[in-house]
């Protein structure tokens, strides 16, 4: 065995900062001035933010009308599945005391509908919805194929349970004349949904493209007859369908139904006055003790009229600020105590 020659320095470790653990580093010292000033500024920032959020949330207007009970007879009718072909409409008048300015959005809101169940969420076929292969139903169990083994389009539990009430908002210009508030059924979805995620097989003849498939069991019409008025709003590109398809995270959720077309009377939004919702009641909710409402709302930069974020900011800001005062008090008290101790 060869001996290491004396003073052989080849084994000397490198004198690099990394290897000697002497890398320059930030060391977080919690000095009084730093911590207290950070707390003060953070507190003020959060308070301001909270106030701004609350103010802007309060500036939005929202009307929510629950029509489960109002349309109790319809609800009863829908509890029996065999009555699916019997039409049931229901009108809900309401008074808008203040006009709603700007863009008004109409939502339907479901209470207690679990769109977030694991099996429910999994039961869809993105390949089918892309329009590449309408017969791709492999992930859609148990709504893959009908009893006669024809693939269902659109397949899956989500599609099958699509919300299918029609809601028409009418404005009573005067006691006798009622006009329909023009609602746009476009721009309800993300661009990517409309142009990438959901695609019809082709634009020519939808009925042909979907030949050899069948409609979901709960649907009255096949996918290509969802919107009889606007042929382009059919197939997988139907806006209501696209809005329904992403699963909501919580059992109570609202989904966009339409937005106000700002024309004629409604250029500035919805004027105050008497309105009514004319609802074709199709979607059964009482079976699962659910409820449904229709919501009219305006939006601001930070969303709807939910005060939660604003309040959370305010509370955080207030607590931070108070904490900074308390910490300052404790710190100065102890400091003077220590000083007197040292001076003795």
């Amino acid at each position: 065995m060869e001996e290491t020659p004396p003073h052989c320095l080849s084994r000397l470790p490198d004198n690099s900062a990394l290897k000697q653990q002497e890398l320059p580093a930030h060391q977080l010292y919690f000095t009084a001035t730093r911590v207290l000033s950070a707390f003060f500024t953070m507190g003020i920032f959060c308070l301001c933010m909270g106030i701004i959020l609350i103010v802007s949330a309060r500036s939005t207007q929202e009307i929510e009308i629950n029509y489960t009970r109002t349309c109790a007879n319809c609800a009863k009718l829908r509890e029996t599945a065999s009555n699916f072909d019997k039409e049931c409409t229901c009108s809900i008048p309401f008074y808008l005391s203040e006009k709603m300015m700007g863009n008004v959005y109409m939502y339907y809101k479901l209470h207690g509908f679990h769109q977030n169940l694991y099996r429910y969420i999994q039961s869809r076929s993105n390949r089918q919805l892309m329009g590449k292969d309408v017969k791709a139903v492999e992930d859609c169990s148990p709504f893959k194929t009908s009893n006669s083994n024809t693939p269902i389009v659109p397949c899956g539990a989500i599609a099958n349970s699509m919300f299918n009430d029609t809601i028409i908002l009418s404005y009573n210009i005067n006691s006798s004349a009622q006009i329909k508030v023009p609602m746009l059924k476009s721009g309800l979805t993300w661009w990517t949904d409309k142009y990438i995620k959901f695609q019809n097989p082709s634009f020519k003849n939808l009925a042909d493209e979907f030949r050899g498939t069948t409609k979901p069991p709960n649907w009255p019409n096949p996918i290509y007859e969802l919107d009889e008025k606007d042929p382009r709003n059919n197939g997988f590109l139907n806006e209501d369908f696209i809005v329904w398809m992403p699963g909501a995270a919580f059992p109570t959720f609202k989904k966009l139904y339409g937005r106000l077309n700002q024309t004629h009377h409604f250029k500035e939004g919805l004027p105050a006055g008497n309105y009514s919702f004319n609802i074709t009641y199709n979607f059964p909710v009482t079976r699962f003790q659910g409820e449904k409402s229709v919501v009219l709302s305006t939006l601001t930069w930070c969303g709807g009229n939910s005060l939660f974020l604003g309040l959370a900011y305010t509370v955080t800001g207030a607590v931070t600020w108070l904490a900074s005062f308390a910490m300052m008090a404790i710190h100065t008290m102890l400091k003077s105590k220590k000083r007197s101790f040292f001076h003795q």
Partner: protein, 1187 residues
């Protein structure tokens, strides 16, 4: 050589047909970890203690480093043990392949690699899935494949699992590749084999049992050989066994005289057809039994005739040997064995933690399952049509059952697989920091610190007990002749500069580096009076020095420059012989029968009649010499206690005087030897010598008879005096000991040395001080005595506390209770316990064990002296077991191996006596003082880092996973995840792994503040960047177009992140999570400041740090008379010298002349290094002492 009885019995046992089972020719040596290296890097660990008998291993120091031991995946198995039962004995016939093939002996090919290309995948996977974590994740994967309960898609588990398994597999594969490479390298080494009466070059792997091979100087030995002949006279050859047992001195092997006659005669060698019958392959390196039958006569074979694989031939130009054991059967390979893996307490903590978390997970699962059952029966019922259409109904209980499993799958991320990987990575990083630390680099020997085990770093920060060896660890194992007492007079008390002058005038020869290197350079014994006495011709002084020059086993040789070099066997002897040399009594040379010395310029040759060798029971050695006048004298040196009993009664006065001197020396921590002589009558000696020869030839009770004869002649000695040799402390030992005890680490010294020497080293190291309230010395020879002494000590310790002297019965009951939990009582004052090996043996018996432990743990310092390696290990085990404390053992020699292995952490001092300690250790460095940095910096940091890392890791995973628990209440307990599957998959391995790792590796606890290096920044911001880039990539149109079902998130990111309130929520969350922590830490500094806070404040206030007060060693304790005898010497050298076997050949063969000098001089080169470095250190040390 007459065939001894052993051989005959062997043959008679041979009548039975040996049992052989069919064995594959290619034995796989699993477990030997052999890597690439220039040299054959099988280093073998000799195990000394019986408890470790079976645990040997081979380690390659050159390449494999610490990575080698870093995982359990090596899955080392012992193969040799099962084989032993197969082969009862071995019969080998030289030059006869056909004959030997009958037995199907293994050939010389070795396989240390574990896998081949075909077997790699199955074996490696099998090994990996034996790890609990991997198996657990495999189970999860299987669960996920069941569609009924699969709540996460399979890739969430398989991606991390495959990643982890691949990483490990790649590492294993690389390791194995290197093993293959080294196997190939070794197997393809060339050696000259006698085939068809010709010497032919053959690869090692083709060497067969029974082959005769030729070895040349400096070649590695290919297999275990029976030495047949060599170039040296008497069939001698020299081998270096450093790779086998770490000893660097050369060993001598001698061929049978019948075979050594064969010489290099190829034709005769080719005709050699001896049959060797010997033991079956085994792992005993120092034993061999066999019988050679050749030409109708039988010759017994022992270890002296065998050259083992792994040795290097030295100083011998050629030799021939017959292969007895090949390949896996060689002793070297037989010693490969299992490595015991040590786990840290964090590991154990984490295991329990993980178990608790599993329990917690199951609880959550049960809660959610119950929730699911209730929900299903209450609400879910009504959703049946949405979910199941025309599928069969499910009962809510069954649904709950399935949900349980689904949630187990979802919630498994609390203990992700990446935890284990991250921990390994962090530890590896910490190990590298240790290797890279320049502050632990010993520049004088070019030895960096080495973390040989990567898995134990954080344990270093929790050490409570350090068990330290003394020699070579605390002390330098460098002896300096300091004082002597001749004929009742002390010399060497004056240490003045004048002494230097004396030496210069006195030394006739030019200052000889090589000579000095043997002694330790600072020869400062220059007491005028001794010189004067020599000049005056005081016969006693001359006799004293003559004795030092004659009575030893030192070998001398002249190097190329004509300087005299002493090759010493023990440093004590070196010190003595060199001291004598400096006083004009120069040991010049020796032959087996003579010793030539120069007495004050006159060369005198003494006839060496006998060497009565040293051994540990005799504690003395003697030589019998005849001077040119024909006078026969016995010169003896040894332990005072022993030698004083052998003195002639007329020595009484001198004895008491010398004994006073001896205890004075001992009090100064010097190692003493008593020196005596006896004039022998010619006739008496001849008679005795004849008896000795008879005894030597005896077959029965040979050793006893010889010992008796030695006793017989070593009596009526005339006392000459005593020598005192200083055992120098290592550099920085005092400071290290002080700071470690400031850190509340208890240091126990476990040494094989004598009690007094150990005590004095204790004083020197500041472990024992005169401030101590009491020092208990337990030195009883019987169990009762020891028990009583312990009891007394305890009573003393607890003072008035009468509980402990309540009589025997109560005491025993109490012990029983205490064994379960030893309660540390608060004892005021410093105490020390000194216990010797005999007492320790009794104290370690079960009923006194606890008393000992309790007492020892109360004491600030514990010194165990004269302990055997096994006892060292027992003491460590005792503390480990009953104290539940983390222990560290540090040592440098083979006797520390067992202790190093049993402690939680074993530290080896490298660059010392051989490699055994280092090989067994988990960490190694060159100096004891580095322990301070290892423990107080690396250990502390590692521990903090690991703790912080674990907290951080569990925090992030709990925060990440528990969301699913709460979401369960909203989603009808249906095991729907909140995050998408890819986020779950990548969260632990990509998004959050690096910041935690960076913190775990780079954080420093400099005054309890977090330590953010640029790497932390890079990792944190990098991880965020990676998160967003992956997010956008996964949410992109392109990937959706390709995999619509796997990546259905198209557009989510870009639409959500443009929402202002998302950012507001992120900001608020950050503020709300950080603020409380900051406030808490701020207030904690104010209200409950930690030590470091206080220090920082004081630093701020005073702008200067208080220097650490280091205590100087106190004045020596002058106590009752005690012996300072100590002698580092081994048995067996006397015999070697008298046999002449180790004498250099007078006419070295021309081929090897140069090499010989070269290789002989390796040791002096080594010593030269030592010398130069030590000069530097000693000078600095002397300075400090003087100042």
């Amino acid at each position: 050589m007459a065939p001894p009885a052993m051989g005959q019995s062997f043959m008679s046992a041979n009548v039975k047909k040996p049992l052989f089972h069919k064995r594959s020719n290619q034995q796989e040596v699993i477990g030997g970890e052999i890597g690439v290296g220039e040299e054959l890097s099988y280093l073998l660990l000799v195990n000394f203690s019986p408890i470790h008998r079976a645990k040997c291993r081979i380690i390659n120091e050159a390449t494999r480093g610490y990575l080698l031991r870093s995982g359990e995946r090596s899955g080392v198995t012992m193969f040799c043990s099962e084989k032993k039962s197969l082969e009862v004995e071995r019969i080998v016939k030289a030059n006869d392949h056909e004959y030997n093939e009958k037995f199907q002996y293994a050939d010389n090919r070795i396989h240390t690699s574990k896998y081949s290309i075909l077997t790699f995948l199955p074996i490696n996977l099998f090994e990996q899935f034996q790890r609990v974590a991997n198996a657990y994740f495999l189970c999860l994967l299987i669960l996920q494949l069941i569609p009924e309960i699969s709540s996460l898609t399979w890739f969430t588990t398989i991606v991390p699992l495959v990643l982890v398994i691949t990483m490990t597999a790649v590492k294993d594969a690389t390791d194995d590749f290197f093993r293959h490479k080294s196997d190939n390298q070794v197997n393809n080494r060339q050696s000259e084999v006698l085939i068809d009466s010709k010497l032919q070059n053959e690869k090692w792997m083709n060497v067969k049992v029974g082959d005769i091979i030729k070895l040349e100087n400096n070649q590695f030995v290919a297999a275990d050989l029976l030495l047949l002949s060599s170039s040296e006279p008497h069939g001698l050859c020299y081998v270096e066994t450093a790779e086998l047992d770490g000893e660097t001195n050369l060993k001598v092997r001698q061929a049978l005289s019948v075979t050594s006659e064969l010489g290099a005669d190829i034709s005769r060698l080719a005709r050699f057809d001896g049959i060797v019958v010997c033991e079956a392959p085994n792992n005993k390196l120092d034993k061999f039994m066999g019988l050679l039958s050749w030409k109708d006569s039988k010759h017994s074979l022992n270890n002296e005739k065998i050259i083992l694989r792994g040795c290097i031939l030295r100083n011998t130009s050629w030799c021939f040997g017959m292969v007895i054991f090949a390949g896996p059967d060689t002793k070297l390979m037989q010693n490969s064995g299992k490595t015991k893996f040590k786990r840290t307490s964090i590991d154990r903590l984490m295991n329990t933690l993980v178990l608790w978390i599993f329990g917690f997970l199951i609880c959550l699962g049960i809660i959610l399952a119950i929730g699911n059952s209730i929900w299903e029966s209450q609400i879910g019922d009504q959703f049946r049509t949405f979910l199941f259409w025309n599928e069969g109904e499910k009962s809510s209980v069954f649904s709950g059952f399935l949900t349980f499993w689904s949630y187990i799958i979802i919630l498994n991320t609390v203990v992700p697989i990446s935890l284990y990987v991250s921990m390994e990575v962090i530890r590896l990083g910490h190990s590298y920091f240790i290797n890279w630390d320049r502050k632990m680099y010993y520049s004088q020997k070019a030895i960096p610190a080495e973390a040989r085990t990567t898995t134990l770093n954080e344990e270093l920060g929790q050490i409570e007990y350090i068990f330290s060896d003394k020699t070579g660890t605390l002390t330098q194992n460098i002896m300096t002749f300091k004082r002597c007492s001749i004929n009742g007079r002390i010399y060497g008390e004056v240490h003045d500069a004048l002494g230097q002058k004396t030496e210069v005038t006195q030394e006739k020869k030019p200052v000889d580096f090589s000579v000095k290197s043997q002694v330790g350079r600072e020869f400062q014994f220059f007491d005028h009076s001794l010189m004067e006495s020599i000049e005056l011709g005081d016969p006693k002084v001359h006799e004293f020095l003559r004795l030092l020059t004659l009575c030893h086993t030192v070998m001398s040789e002249e190097n190329s420059a004509g300087e005299l070099i002493y090759q010493v066997q023990s440093p004590d002897e070196g010190a003595l012989v060199t001291a004598a040399r400096n006083f004009g009594f120069i040991f010049k040379s020796r032959t087996p029968d003579t010793i030539t010395i120069e007495e004050l310029g006159t060369p005198v040759t003494y006839q060496l009649l006998a060497i009565l060798d040293f051994n540990n029971t005799r504690k003395r050695m003697s030589v019998i010499v005849q001077n040119p006048e024909g006078q026969i004298k016995l010169y003896s040196k040894g332990a005072d206690t022993i030698l004083f009993e052998k003195l002639h009664p007329s020595n009484e006065d001198l004895l008491s005087l010398t004994s006073d001197h001896l205890s004075e020396f001992a009090g100064e921590g010097l190692r003493t030897l008593a020196i005596a002589y006896r004039d022998l009558d010619d006739k008496y000696f001849k008679e005795w010598h004849k008896m000795l020869e008879d005894a030597n030839a005896a077959t029965e009770e040979r050793d006893e008879r010889i010992a008796g004869l030695y006793e017989e002649i070593e009596r009526d000695l005339m006392l000459l005096g005593a020598t005192a040799v200083e055992d120098k402390l290592q550099e920085g030992v005092i400071e290290t000991v002080t700071s470690l005890s400031l850190a509340n680490i208890k240091i126990w010294v476990l040494t094989g040395d004598k009690q007094e020497t150990a005590i004095n080293i204790g004083y020197a190291c500041n472990m024992l001080t005169d401030d101590m309230n009491d020092i208990f010395v337990i030195a009883g020879n019987t169990a009762v005595e020891v028990r009583e002494e312990l009891r007394k000590a305890k009573e003393n310790l607890f003072g008035q506390n009468s509980n402990f002297s309540n009589g025997h019965v109560v005491g025993e009951k109490k012990q029983q209770l205490e064994l379960d939990s030893v309660v540390e009582e608060t004892v005021t004052g410093d105490y020390a316990l000194i216990i010797n090996g005999h007492s320790l043996a009794h104290a370690l018996e079960s009923d006194v064990k606890n008393d000992l432990l309790e007492l020892a743990c109360m004491c600030k310092t514990v010194v165990c002296c004269r302990v055997t390696p096994l006892q060292k290990a027992q003491v460590v085990e005792l503390v480990k077991k009953y104290r539940n404390a983390v222990t560290l053992a540090i040592g440098d020699g083979a006797n520390d191996v067992s202790m190093i292995k049993s402690a939680h952490i074993g530290v080896g001092i490298s660059g010392q006596e051989g490699l055994q300690a280092v090989l067994a250790s988990d960490y190694s460095f060159a100096q004891f003082r580095y322990l301070q940095r290892l423990l107080l910096v690396h250990g502390r940091w590692s521990y903090f880092r690991m703790c912080k890392f674990l907290c951080y890791f569990f925090y992030k995973n709990f925060a990440f996973t528990l969301v699913h628990f709460w979401f369960g209440f909203f989603c009808g307990f249906s095991a729907q995840t909140v995050y998408d599957q890819w986020f779950i998959t990548l969260f632990n391995i990509v998004y959050t792994s690096l910041p935690v790792l960076a913190m775990g590796i780079f954080d420093q606890i400099a005054l309890d503040t977090s330590y953010w290096t640029f790497i932390n920044h890079v990792f944190i911001w990098g991880s965020i960047a990676i998160y967003f880039s992956i997010l956008f990539a996964m949410h992109s149109n392109g990937i959706f177009g390709i995999f619509p079902n796997q990546f259905p998130f198209v557009g989510n990111a870009r639409h959500s992140l443009t929402q202002k309130c998302i950012w507001l929520v992120i900001l608020l969350t950050t503020v709300a999570s950080v603020m409380p922590v900051v406030a808490f830490r701020f207030l904690k500094v104010d209200l409950y400041p930690t030590l470091s806070d206080q220090i920082r404040q004081r630093q701020k206030a005073q702008k200067k740090a208080r220097p650490l007060s280091s205590r100087r060693p106190r004045t020596r304790r002058s106590s009752s008379r005690r012996s300072g005898y100590a002698f580092a010497h081994q048995e067996g050298y006397g015999e070697l010298i008298t046999s002449g076997k180790n004498m250099r050949a007078k006419n070295p063969p021309p081929t090897s002349g140069l090499e010989k000098t070269h290789y002989n001089s390796t040791s002096w080169i080594e010593n030269l290094c030592k010398k130069t470095t030590d000069t530097v250190s000693s000078i600095s040390q002397d300075k400090t002492v003087k100042l």
